[in-house]
């Protein structure tokens, strides 16, 4: 803070800074929490869909075929993707991570991304992130309880981002509105509250000027100055008198 700023301005700046910090903290922390909640909820819904696909594939395995030979698996993936706009891609991989079926046929027989399979644990679903894409993995277990592979469902945040943008805008709007009201009210409030103290400082300053009129707020200071001035003036007068009397003494 610059040394030239009055204390009232400094208080206003501090209050404004705390209002901005408080507003940003409240909005920012709420936004981050909401973002997590929304992503969690989206993942939850997609986990249900992936789980249902996994069950369908497992039912196919009951026919006694290997995972690569499950009838209608490719069509199932494509139908599911078409039915759910949130889904960016679906694939079925074998236990060594090789893609057996994929909505993007270019990926067939390629290895699934490492990140997609890194999180698999036990017989439950897992979630992963591969670059900008998020994903859900569901294990495919055969009738003997052995892991045959997995269904991988990838999705992006576009639909969540639209909601987040809308929330962010409403929060920015609310924060700006709150600040637009609070900042001027704070500045005016500080100005009014500090009136008395500012007057005291001003009175002190004025009281110290030569020939200042009486200042009730600085009466004590002016009293001290007046008393010292009177003593000095009297002494000055006496010394001048002595000086003016000298020639007569010399003459005598």
């Amino acid at each position: 803070m610059s040394g030239s700023l009055s204390f009232a301005s400094r208080l206003s700046v501090l209050l404004a800074a705390m209002l901005v910090a408080g507003g940003i903290l409240a909005a920012g922390l709420n936004y981050l929490k909401f973002e997590r909640l929304l992503l969690e909820q989206q993942a939850r819904v997609l986990e249900i869909l992936a789980g249902e696909l996994g069950v369908t594939v497992e039912n196919g395995l009951q026919l006694g075929v290997r995972l690569a030979g499950v009838p209608g698996a490719q069509a199932l993936l494509e139908r599911s993707r078409a039915a759910e706009p949130l889904i960016a891609g679906l694939s079925i991989v074998d236990s060594s991570g090789i893609v057996l079926f994929d909505t993007d046929r270019q990926n067939l027989n390629a290895a699934a991304p490492e990140a997609a399979l890194a999180g698999q644990t036990g017989s439950g679903p897992w979630r992963y992130r591969d670059g900008s894409r998020y994903g859900v993995g569901v294990p495919v277990i055969n009738g003997f309880g052995q892991r045959e592979g997995a269904v991988l469902l990838s999705y992006d945040r576009r639909s969540v981002d639209a909601r987040l943008t809308s929330v962010l805008l409403s929060m920015v709007q609310a924060t700006l509105l709150a600040l637009a009201v609070a900042l001027p009210v704070g500045a005016v409030g500080i100005h009014l509250i500090t009136r008395r103290t500012r007057r005291w400082f001003a009175a002190m300053e004025a009281a110290m000027q030569p020939g200042a009129p009486p200042e009730p707020l600085a009466a004590s200071l002016q009293g001290a100055v007046g008393e010292a001035s009177a003593i000095l003036a009297a002494a000055e007068h006496r010394l001048e008198t002595i000086a003016s009397e000298l020639p007569e003494e010399v003459r005598a």
Binding site: L5, F7, I48, W200, M208, A228, A243
Partner: protein, 672 residues
């Protein structure tokens, strides 16, 4: 009333009002908008689950099974419900809305869709039914709905996170308000109250005829203007005096003029002081760096063991305990050295030196690849913590006005407690949103800010170039003073043994044993801090008022002991919170007097900084010993037995401390 006192209250009131209104408004809008955006997502989940159920039932209908002939529906719905946690109910109604089969808890107000309800082209019919979001999907036969599958998600799924967010908003508000109060206190002390007090002091000196005064010119704002005008005024008066002297020297009537000058000199003193008047005691602004430092340190309190466990690969308690042990050990070991640094370099330099390891430690913790490097980083943090806290304590002691030492030093504990409450609360929220590593990064930034603040705002000096005794010699000198030895052994160590052993270790475990929820355990343990804050103020006031800090310490120790014996007379679920309250009050009462008696004990030896450091070391020792001691007692005889033993320990040491004081007083009276 001076202008500054009313001003502080009014500015605080205005800040509270505006911050509450602004944060409240932003949060209210945010929560309303969240509800609006989250609700469709919950309904979507219900729709997806419903569509799974509908597919199976629709397949049966498509195969020619009549709606009335569907069998095993209850079991199927129960399977569907159990497969998807978080659902309130799944049920099947006929086309008239009558419930055919159900699973889960249906709201009492549930009503099926009316006959003739039109099925949606895609998705489900969604509505809010009592405390549930309901999604209904049609079962069709020849294109007409013959039944509806309803899936309900309890509103609590939405309300619970929204309630969490409301609590977080309250915490943000509390932290911002407390931080604002600390910043305002600092700013008002710098620009208003301290300068006004200084001007009044100078005014009194001028009124007494002392025209040698000089106001400091490094103050900003109006105070700076007043100081400069005051210096001009004094200069003007001195010029008039110089003129008198000149007039006198010009005169050859030396005797008469000398008499005039002597008469003036008898009433007024002139000449310019070589050193400007000190600004005066400024304990309010001395609190700010301490508050911020403890705030930064405590940001990680709520997740330190969790982070450590994660870095250890989910290992057991060793991984979680190692960084905490490293931090406490480093604080204990660095405390005497910190005292030396403060004594040699002065509080300002020591604070700035201390922020270096603290900031590096936080950075190290943020980047730690494994639990051992994390523990090392926490140890570095601990060294910084030891130096900065001792420096702040000595700085507060130096700034404390005469007769208000205890109250000023009470400000030390109050700043620590406020920083701890704020840091712990907001740290948990930050970690929840940004992750552990970024929260450590935030701690580092706050510490860097403290270094900047201290560098800009605090006057250098306060150190001593005089040769100082070494660490061991300082310890010998300190503990050779019986009053200090008694204070450390019979008051400081027992207090921290109880804090570590009872509040941090036994109370949470025993509250859990009594069936309290985690939130309730947290609230009960928080009673300690809540009771301590007003008790600190009361203890400081009493100590300053009566001048019997030692007696207050002894009484507080006895009160703590009696409080811990409450299970002898009361049921555990009342005795335990009662003991926490008693410990908070007792330790709050003793905290300021304990610090305030040290300068008195040190007296003219100038060993106060070292004594304060050894007092802190004694407290650390108590903190380290407390939990294992309580654990051993708990293993040997249960919680009631442990509390009783700790209570007896506190009572005996308090009586011992009281006896030492009595003995000392009797010896002082003997020569008289």
């Amino acid at each position: 009333m001076t202008p500054d006192r009313r001003l502080i209250g009014s500015v605080l009131a205005l800040s509270v009002l505006l911050l509450t209104a602004a944060i409240g408004f932003v949060s209210h809008t945010a929560l309303r908008s969240f509800e609006g955006e989250l609700r469709p997502e919950l309904e979507r989940e219900a729709t997806v689950v419903g569509s799974i159920g509908v597919q199976t039932l629709q397949r049966a209908l498509d195969l020619g099974v009549p709606f009335d002939g569907l069998s095993g529906v209850e079991e199927y719905l129960a399977t569907l419900l159990s497969a998807q946690p978080g659902l309130a109910y799944v049920l099947l109604t006929d086309a008239h809305g009558r419930v055919i089969a159900r699973a889960g808890e249906t709201p009492a107000t549930f009503q099926g869709l009316p006959p003739g309800a039109v099925p949606p082209g895609r998705g489900a019919v969604t509505r809010l039914l009592g405390s549930s979001y309901d999604a209904a999907l049609p079962l069709l036969a020849t294109g007409q709905p013959v039944g509806w599958v309803h899936v309900g998600i309890a509103r609590a799924r939405l309300d619970t996170p929204l309630d969490d967010m409301r609590w977080d908003v309250v915490i943000v508000l509390l932290v911002v308000l407390l931080a604002t109060a600390e910043f305002l206190r600092f700013l008002l002390a710098r620009t208003v109250s301290t300068p006004i007090a200084m001007v009044r002091r100078l005014q009194e000196r001028l009124a007494a005829g002392d025209w040698t005064v000089r106001a400091p010119t490094d103050m900003g704002a109006e105070a700076g203007h007043v100081a400069r005008h005051l210096n001009v005024l004094v200069r003007r008066m001195n010029d008039r005096w110089d003129r008198l002297c000149w007039l006198a020297t010009e005169s050859s009537a030396a005797h008469r003029t000398a008499a005039v000058l002597a008469e003036v000199g008898g009433k007024l003193r002139f000449g310019m002081a070589s050193v400007a008047e000190r600004r005066g005691s400024d304990t309010a602004s001395a609190r700010l760096p301490l508050f911020l430092f403890v705030f930064a340190e405590q940001l990680s309190t709520s997740f330190n063991p969790i982070y450590a466990q994660a870095l250890a690969g989910g290992g057991g308690t060793f991984g979680a305990a190692l960084p905490i042990a490293a931090f406490v050990a480093a604080v204990a070991l660095a405390t005497p050295w910190g005292g030396e640094v403060v004594a040699r370099r002065g509080p300002r330099s020591a604070m700035m030196w201390g922020t270096v390891p603290a900031a590096l430690g936080h950075l190290g913790a943020a980047l730690a690849p494994d639990v051992f490097s994390f523990a090392a980083a926490r140890a570095v943090c601990g060294a910084g913590y030891a130096i900065v806290t001792i420096a702040c304590q000595v700085h507060l002691a130096q700034e404390a006005p005469q007769g208000r030492v205890a109250r000023s030093l009470g400000g030390f504990t109050a700043a620590v407690m406020t920083g701890a409450v704020c840091g712990t609360a907001i740290g948990a929220v930050l970690a929840d949103r940004m992750g552990f590593r970024l929260t450590y990064g935030a701690s580092m930034l706050v510490v860097a800010g403290i270094a900047l603040l201290v560098w800009r705002e605090f006057a250098p000096g306060g150190g001593s170039t005089a040769p100082r005794p070494g660490l061991w010699r300082s310890a010998r000198i300190a503990f050779a003073e019986p009053r200090f030895a008694a204070l450390a052994v019979l008051a400081a160590i027992p207090a921290k043994v109880l804090l570590g052993g009872f509040i941090f270790f036994l109370a949470p475990l025993e509250l859990r044993e009594l069936g309290f929820s985690q939130a309730a355990i947290g609230r009960n343990v928080m009673l300690y801090g809540l009771c301590m804050l007003p008790a600190i103020v009361a203890g400081a006031w009493l100590s300053d008022r009566t001048g019997r800090g030692g007696l207050i310490i002894a009484i507080a120790g006895a009160l703590n002991g009696v409080g811990l014996m409450l299970p002898l007379w009361l049921a555990s679920d009342i005795a335990l919170p009662g003991a926490i309250v008693a410990t908070g009050i007792a330790q709050g009462l003793a905290s300021a007097p304990m610090l305030a008696v040290v300068p008195a004990i040190a007296g003219a030896t100038g060993n106060a900084a070292a004594m304060l450091a050894f007092l802190r070391l004694a407290e650390r020792f108590g903190s380290v010993v407390g939990p294992p001691a309580a654990a051993a007692l708990l293993a040997s005889g249960g919680a009631g037995h442990t509390m009783l033993m700790l209570g007896i320990f506190s009572l005996v040491t308090a009586i011992g401390y009281g006896l030492v004081l009595l003995l000392r007083a009797a010896r002082r009276e003997e020569p008289a």
